[in-house]
């Protein structure tokens, strides 16, 4: 089932076109990666979905209705730039944001205390935000986003500011929410997280959607063109293949693109001169796809 449908949306500010004819579709119970370099138009796109901005043209449909201030209550939005009232107590902060999303005061209070406990932060309730560490503030911010139990979440760089342990915990929460049937838009620069979490993606650059679809299919379409190889001995045998494009090159380990060369030729040459420990035909990782696609577009524009 389609939760969000964006059709031919355009948004410009004065002479800058921030979003230029973008269409995308997000299905229920999936994690959708909204990717792109800085200034690509992701935040503008998100602000239109959350009804902060109105598109100049095109349409955005959420839960089968055009976006409106009424629908805002059903969205949980974690902006990239976090913001909390420094002098407000944690509990007052959470209750205020909960009520702004349409919760009653008692309900917001109960939920806030429940989530604080879940994050092992029950005793922060009476503390002021400015007394908390950065990581603690991030947790409070995240609770603000999910307090009203929205079915649709937009998380913009949710992992920034968290230590590795908390990143894992947060990943599990996100996956758990997906398991509960919630739909999540995840915007991030860390491509490893895209591969771990996202079901679908849309890559935006310079206001245009340049790549979209299921993560599995995109990877497949980029082919098994990379080789990861570990061996003992000199890597000089690779000099025989001038077309190889190295991604990584160290004494005993290389990662390269074949660029049309036959993988069996390479393996044969290798086995003649070194002892091969590992030879793997790998799918390209998302980092490469990202750089490749964005780089190609940059080159075309020049």
């Amino acid at each position: 089932m389609e939760i969000l449908k964006v059709e031919n949306v355009v948004k410009s500010f004065r002479d800058i076109i921030a979003v230029n004819d973008v269409s995308l579709s997000v299905s229920a119970g999936r994690i959708f990666g909204l990717l792109g370099p800085n200034g690509a138009g992701k935040t503008t796109m998100i602000r239109m979905i959350t009804n902060i901005y109105m598109p100049d043209s095109g349409s955005i449909t959420l839960f089968g209705q055009p976006v409106s201030s009424e629908l805002q209550n059903r969205i949980g939005y974690l902006p990239e730039e976090r913001g909390l009232y420094k002098k407000l107590k944690v509990i007052d902060q959470l209750v205020y944001f909960g009520m702004l999303k349409g919760m009653t005061r008692p309900n917001a209070t109960t939920q806030a205390l429940k989530w604080l406990a879940e994050f092992g932060a029950a005793d922060w309730a009476g503390k002021k935000i400015q007394e908390l560490s950065k990581g603690m503030q991030q947790k409070v911010q995240f609770i603000c986003t999910i307090l009203h139990e929205p079915d649709f979440l937009i998380l913009d760089e949710p992992f920034s500011g968290f230590d590795p342990i908390n990143v894992e915990a947060l990943k599990n929460i996100i996956l758990k929410m997906r398991g509960e049937g919630k739909t999540i838009i995840l915007s991030t620069h860390v491509m490893q997280q895209v591969e771990e979490l996202c079901d679908d993606i849309c890559l935006i650059n310079k206001g245009k959607a340049i790549l979209s679809g299921r993560v599995r299919e995109i990877k497949k379409s980029f082919g098994r063109d990379s080789v990861i190889m570990e061996f003992e001995g000199s890597n000089e045998f690779l000099n025989a293949f001038p077309d190889i494009e190295f991604i990584n090159k160290s004494a005993n380990r290389v990662e390269f693109k074949l660029n049309g060369m036959s993988s069996s030729d390479v393996l044969k040459a290798a086995s003649e001169s070194v002892e091969v420990i590992r030879f793997e035909l790998a799918e390209p990782n998302f980092n490469e796809i990202f750089i490749d696609v964005v780089g190609t577009q940059e080159a075309e524009n020049e």
């Binding site: 902006p79 913001g83 702004l100």
Partner: protein
């Protein structure tokens, strides 16, 4: 309650509660009246003190033989007669043995010209007293020399006292033009301060939410117009709470003031009640009456404060939304702060002639009305049509300001980076549909 109005209510409640619970508010509410009293009392007290302190020891070199002793009789602690030569008196003055000397030439009664020698200064207070005292003595001496009868002299010297009495439907009552003008001045000034204080509260609150990026979360939960309205109303209610507290406090103090004065000053209560003028020769006010203040003055004060606050705070909010930090706001706010300051410069003219055309016109300019109409309402009987006109003009001006401010605010809150110019802001107004 609809979803939308419940969100505005949530914002109003948040702004109100966080402000009212703050220490600053509680201290301000309690100390405000004290500061106000101090602002009025200190100039009066220092003026009074200046009459006493200067020139304690003054020699009189009298060539007439008649005026000198009369001056000494007025204040024997200050004046004494001398027959020392003027040179010596000069030296003693310079040596600070005496504060100065008064030279009464032999023809002083005819010419009325006398000379006071001091080391300089002495203060206006002292000269005013001396002038009054000597005029009286010389006037009397002239009459004596002209052979006037003692009765005639007493009659001439009897002071003149004008009491203004106002005619109303209920009969006559004492008119307190001067006192009421003073009250008008104070009330106008308090509105001026409150508009500034609460306007900057709104501006600071907007900038805080923008600088801390809280606004993005709020804007994804409510309409910018509702956020602006909720904020302005919430902080306005804080101001209203404070003002209503002060009005009630003043009412209680005024109601008990007559009673308190009665306790300390023994005046015939009937005289106070009737407000009858009393002829008096002294420089003191005829009596200690407290002008009866209409409760409408309190209502007017609250209305003009609130309407002025609404007009200016929406504009302050709009300009606050345009900047990233508070230090950038001051320059941009000049066009808004100027119309608050101008009426303060005009109060003097308004009080001098509160019923004049200038006063009527100025007090009906909506940006000046909160202060100037307040002054007029206190100082004179403003015709009902003018009050009605001011109410209509204020309300429509507020709606206009809110309309413009909401447009600027909508764009401004999410605009970061470059400090905008007025041209940019004009563009935002056009941009917002």
């Amino acid at each position: 309650m609809s979803r939308r109005s419940s969100k505005i209510a949530t914002i109003i409640n948040h702004e109100y509660i966080t402000k009212v619970k703050s220490k600053g508010f509680i201290i301000g509410t309690l100390l405000g009246p004290l500061i106000m009293v101090a602002l009025i009392a200190i100039p009066i007290a220092t003026t009074l003190l200046s009459f006493e302190d200067s020139a304690k020891n003054i020699a009189i070199l009298d060539e007439t033989g008649t005026i000198g002793p009369k001056v000494v009789k007025l204040d024997p602690g200050r004046y004494y007669l001398t027959d020392k030569p003027e040179d010596l008196l000069k030296k003693r003055t310079l040596a600070e043995e005496i504060d100065g000397y008064l030279l009464i030439p032999s023809d002083a009664v005819q010419t009325g010209e006398l000379e006071v020698y001091t080391r300089g200064g002495g203060g206006i207070g002292y000269l005013t007293i001396l002038d009054k005292q000597l005029s009286k003595i010389i006037r009397r001496e002239r009459l004596v020399q002209a052979g006037a009868d003692t009765n005639v002299i007493n009659l001439v010297n009897k002071g003149v006292s004008i009491s203004t009495i106002k005619i109303t439907e209920e009969g006559t009552e004492k008119d307190f033009t001067a006192a009421l003008a003073g009250i008008g001045y104070v009330l106008g000034f308090v509105i001026y301060i409150l508009m500034f204080v609460y306007g900057s509260f709104v501006s600071r609150s907007v900038i805080e939410e923008k600088a801390n990026r809280i606004i993005e979360i709020i804007a994804s939960s409510a309409k910018p117009f509702d956020i602006l309205l909720g904020k302005v109303v919430g902080i306005g209610l804080v101001g209203l709470t404070q003002v209503v507290f002060w009005v009630i406090l003043s009412a209680v103090l005024l109601a008990s003031a007559g009673y308190i004065v009665d306790l300390f000053v023994n005046i015939d209560p009937e005289a106070i009640k009737a407000g009858m003028p009393q002829a008096s020769d002294s420089n003191l006010p005829a009596n200690f009456e407290i002008p009866s203040i209409s409760p409408w003055l309190g209502v007017g004060f609250i209305f003009y404060f609130i309407s002025g606050y609404f007009i200016y705070s929406t504009l302050f909010a709009a300009l606050g939304s345009a900047v990233d930090q508070e230090s950038d706001a001051a320059q941009l706010q000049i066009p808004v702060t100027l119309p608050i300051i101008i009426p303060i410069l005009l109060i003097g003219n308004i009080i001098a002639n509160p019923d004049g055309t200038l006063a009527i016109v100025l007090s009906l300019i909506p940006f000046f009305t909160p202060i100037l109409m307040m002054v007029r309402v206190a100082a004179t009987d403003v015709p009902v049509w003018q009050i009605a006109a001011s109410v209509v003009l204020l309300i429509s001006t507020f709606l206009g300001c809110l309309w413009v401010a909401a447009k600027i605010y909508r764009v401004g809150i999410l605009m970061t980076g470059k400090k905008p110019t007025f041209k940019d802001i004009y563009h935002w107004i056009k941009l917002a549909k």
